[in-house]
């Protein structure tokens, strides 16, 4: 059970989530709505991948049908149906559950790669079918509606949408957490760890997996309908593979082994796209790079690394770690600066604009502007700076890593010996 301290932590977080947004501007409020929706979607997805051990590559399907179900209900409300607007996500839940049951019935007949491929195929099926069914999905321009007022609340402003979203995300998030504590939640974990054993214990493994799949689909549907409420429109691009891929990336970067890990990943990615997407056209590249680096050096994700520290907080020599961690942060910043410099330089030098100015200058390698300074494509500093940044950063990281490993290894002498060095490799 949760300790007093973690209850306090959660209460503080909740208070912040309630009190801070009205003070923020519209753009931030909207970004937070996106963070909440992405978090719920990632939690729902992680029920399947983290807890049941079933990696789905087609979760956009359940997210999408939830969005469309909510919109059809909203259109009905607009036409006079007496249904409270705040309860619209129920439509997404019901449809997500039903579609999840049907799709799950087929998909869970297989496991591993085959399961992933079936889910991918089902999502692609809906993606290919949706633009044809214009009555249901509205063709490529999609369908739209308007949030109708309920009980004096207009639902016109972003902050009202934020609170509605927050309510639903907390409700579903809590539900998913409590689910993990139920006997069926334990059975879900057992399905991941040893399905054969579950079967020998007398459980129907297939039905159990179908139920887990359907619950995941249901909560994904709620997340989708929250997006529909926020956007007030949806088109079939919601079924596209990049929506499915995004939730996979977020969950693994956040950490699929920790319950709240996916929330970290979802928050990072949603805020990253909000903050960076208008600064540089290379933001998708950076996003991919973050994923690769996390998978290489922290396979349990950011949540996993944090949990690892919390678990060993009493055995670790924190004062001895402080300096190497600060050095690691510095090294990481150097590497990041080097990569950003090199990427942006390549983006400029091979970009259309530069090609045109070169053409106008008769093909000469003329200097270009970047980060408020002028760089010459033939000048040594243009290449030396990213190289030095990268080299110094990597050197620091390699050196510091050894010291961190040593501190972590020393902890074994004071306390638990269960964790081996292998996992500390995942800290950096």
């Amino acid at each position: 059970m949760m300790s007093f301290r973690s209850v306090l932590l959660l209460a503080t977080l909740l208070a912040l989530l309630l009190a801070v947004p009205p003070l923020l501007d519209l753009a931030w409020q909207n970004a937070l709505v996106n963070v909440l929706i992405a978090s719920l979607f990632a939690l729902a997805f992680n029920l399947l991948v983290g807890q049941a051990g079933l990696l789905s590559f087609g979760h956009a399907a359940y997210f999408g049908v939830g969005a469309f179900a909510a919109l059809h209900l909203m259109i009905a409300i607009e036409d006079g149906l007496a249904f409270p607007t705040p309860l619209v996500p129920l439509a997404g839940a019901v449809v997500g559950l039903v579609v999840g049951l049907v799709a799950g019935f087929f998909a869970t007949k297989r496991s591993g790669v085959y399961f992933a491929l079936v889910t991918l195929a089902i999502a692609e099926l809906i993606h290919a079918l949706a633009p044809r069914l214009e009555g249901l999905f509205g063709g490529e321009s999609g369908i739209g509606s308007m949030r109708m007022p309920f009980a004096g609340i207009v639902f016109g402003s972003t902050i009202e949408v934020y609170y509605l979203t927050l309510g639903w995300v907390l409700f579903c998030g809590l539900g998913l957490y409590l689910y993990t504590l139920t006997p069926f939640g334990r059975l879900t974990l057992a399905l991941r760890d040893n399905e054969q054993r579950v079967r020998f214990l007398g459980y129907d493994a297939h039905s159990s997996k179908v139920i887990v799949f359907a619950i995941s689909g249901m909560v994904s549907g709620v997340a989708g309908s929250l997006l529909a409420i926020s956007n007030e429109t949806a088109n079939y691009s919601l079924f596209a593979t990049d929506v499915s891929a995004q939730v996979v990336l977020q969950t693994f970067v956040g950490g699929s082994t920790v319950f709240f890990g996916p929330v970290i990943g979802a928050a990072i990615f949603a805020l990253f796209s909000f903050l960076v997407s208008d600064l540089t056209r290379s933001w998708v590249f950076y996003q991919g790079l973050i994923f690769v680096l996390v998978m290489l050096y922290a396979p349990t994700g950011i949540g996993g690394a944090i949990q690892h520290h919390i678990r060993h907080r009493r055995q670790l020599d924190w004062p001895a770690l402080a300096a190497p961690y600060a050095a690691m942060l510095f090294g990481g910043l150097l590497v990041a600066a080097g990569i950003v410099f090199a990427t942006e330089m390549v983006a400029v030098m091979f970009g259309e604009d530069y090609a045109r100015t070169r053409e106008a200058a008769g093909g000469a390698l003329i200097p270009f502007e970047l980060f408020g300074a002028t760089w010459s494509p033939t000048g040594p500093s243009t290449y030396l700076i990213p190289l030095v940044l990268l080299g110094a950063g990597i050197a620091i990281l390699v050196k510091v890593r050894r010291r961190i490993d040593a501190v972590w290894a020393a902890r074994g002498e004071q306390g638990s010996k269960t964790q081996t060095l292998a996992t500390t490799g995942g800290i950096q």
């Binding site: 999609g142 739209g144 972003t158 007030e232 429109t233 949806a234 088109n235 933001w283 100015t357």
Partner: protein, 410 residues
């Protein structure tokens, strides 16, 4: 306390300076700047910036230079909805988009809802390239303006010009992509048949940008033995279709809408010779002044969608000339009303706005691929030679019955 006074003085000072500065007109480009449609999105953004530079050279608007901000919608409608809210937060007055009808559908709805909820703080949507009929049909609204052609305008211009040139023949085959644009094209090809005296000998709708081998479709075209194939296909769907036709040794004339997409002519090579296109503008159709001005400002001649997008901004400039907010708040409704009454004399003819559905009444240029043209396509000896410029009043089609526009009161 001293600290508080300081803050109060500072904010009063900030307020005073903000009063001293007039409110600039803000334009937000919500365009596909990453993802599959980047190359097209980039062209729209280039042309809008060119147009705004011209406005600012002439002194800007409301006593301030017009401010342009780019937002990357990554080619998706949900992302566009997101960026729209970002633009609202930034105080944008006019949003611009061109690369996708789906995104145009999303944005026009977002604008409509925003304007209902925020009277007095309206936003105007200049649609530069979303050709879906429903944008001026079911979804038509006062604050949406379309500055490009639609399927009937292109097809009517194509068929009438080709008939005059004697290249149309009497048998036409329609092959299009299976989504609203392709369906609009097919409907327009069927509708123009009696007027232009041809028979549609076959029609097919196929998947969008998924087909690698068009040979089966070419076989079907061959067995129908048409004189002309009309297609609204773009990108790979157009290129691969033309190549497959060339490989099969089939001698038909292609009548297209997007043959001028960068790279198409170079990729198709000689196969493209004799094929037709109907579009908003071609460099060879004007007197060359605009093309040269554009080249001097941006370093290259206007290509693909850049021409007509620059005209749209020039038309906005015309509309703004008659307005004066004396440095006060920008009234977007008045800009919209002025835009309705504006006419811009583009290099290929006048462009005006039809008040009933805010479709622009504009000339359509029909050209043919020839060898050694005035402006050859990049790296080739091929290019377009204008055959006919269909005037706006002849190219326009009737207002769709589904359009019910709520006009602002007063």
């Amino acid at each position: 306390m001293k600290h508080l006074t300081l803050v109060a003085t500072a904010s009063v000072a900030a307020l005073a300076t903000s009063i001293a500065h007039a409110e600039p007109l803000r334009i937000g480009i919500i365009e596909s700047l990453s993802g599959a449609q980047t190359s097209t999105g980039r062209l729209y953004a280039n042309a809008v910036k060119y147009g705004v530079d011209r406005i600012n050279e002439a002194g800007g608007f409301n006593g301030e230079p017009v401010v342009v901000t780019e937002y990357d919608n990554a080619g998706g409608a949900p992302e566009a909805a997101d960026k729209f809210r970002q633009a609202v937060a930034d105080g944008v007055d006019i949003i611009v988009q061109g690369a996708s009808s789906a995104i145009a559908g999303q944005l026009t709805e977002d604008v409509r809802k925003h304007n209902i909820r925020n009277p007095g703080d309206e936003i105007l949507f200049m649609n530069l390239g979303g050709e879906a009929m429903e944008l001026t049909g079911d979804k038509c609204q006062f604050y949406h303006f379309r500055f490009t052609t639609t399927a009937p305008m292109r097809v009517n211009a194509l068929t009438s010009a080709m008939k005059e040139a004697g290249d149309l023949g009497t048998k036409v085959y329609a092959i299009n992509q299976n989504y609203s644009w392709g369906q609009d094209m097919q409907a327009a090809i069927e509708a123009a048949a009696p007027e232009e005296g041809y028979e549609v000998v076959g029609e097919v709708l196929h998947d969008v940008n998924k087909i690698q081998d068009f040979a089966p479709f070419v076989a079907r075209i061959k067995s129908a033995a048409p004189d002309t194939v009309i297609t609204g296909n773009w990108s790979n769907d157009l290129l691969l279709l033309m190549k497959a036709t060339g490989d099969a040794g089939l001698d038909v004339t292609f009548a297209t809408a997007f043959l001028d997409q960068p790279g198409n002519i170079a990729n198709a090579g000689k196969t493209a010779l004799g094929h037709y296109i109907a579009n908003n503008y071609d460099n060879a159709a004007g007197d060359g002044t605009f093309a040269e001005t554009y080249r001097q400002a941006t370093g290259h001649l206007p290509i693909f969608v850049e021409g007509h997008s620059a005209f749209a901004m020039a038309q906005l400039q015309e509309a703004l000339k008659g307005l004066d907010f004396a440095g006060g708040p920008i009234n977007v409704t008045e800009i919209a009303l002025a835009l309705e009454n504006s006419t811009y004399d583009s290099p290929v003819g006048p462009i005006s706005i039809r008040k009933e559905d805010h479709q622009s009444i504009r000339p359509v240029v029909v050209s043919k691929v020839v060898e050694n043209p005035k402006f050859p396509a990049e790296g080739t000896t091929l290019g377009f030679a204008p055959v006919k410029i269909v005037e706006g009043k002849d190219a326009i089609y009737p207002v769709q019955e589904s359009c019910e526009m709520d006009r602002p009161e007063g």
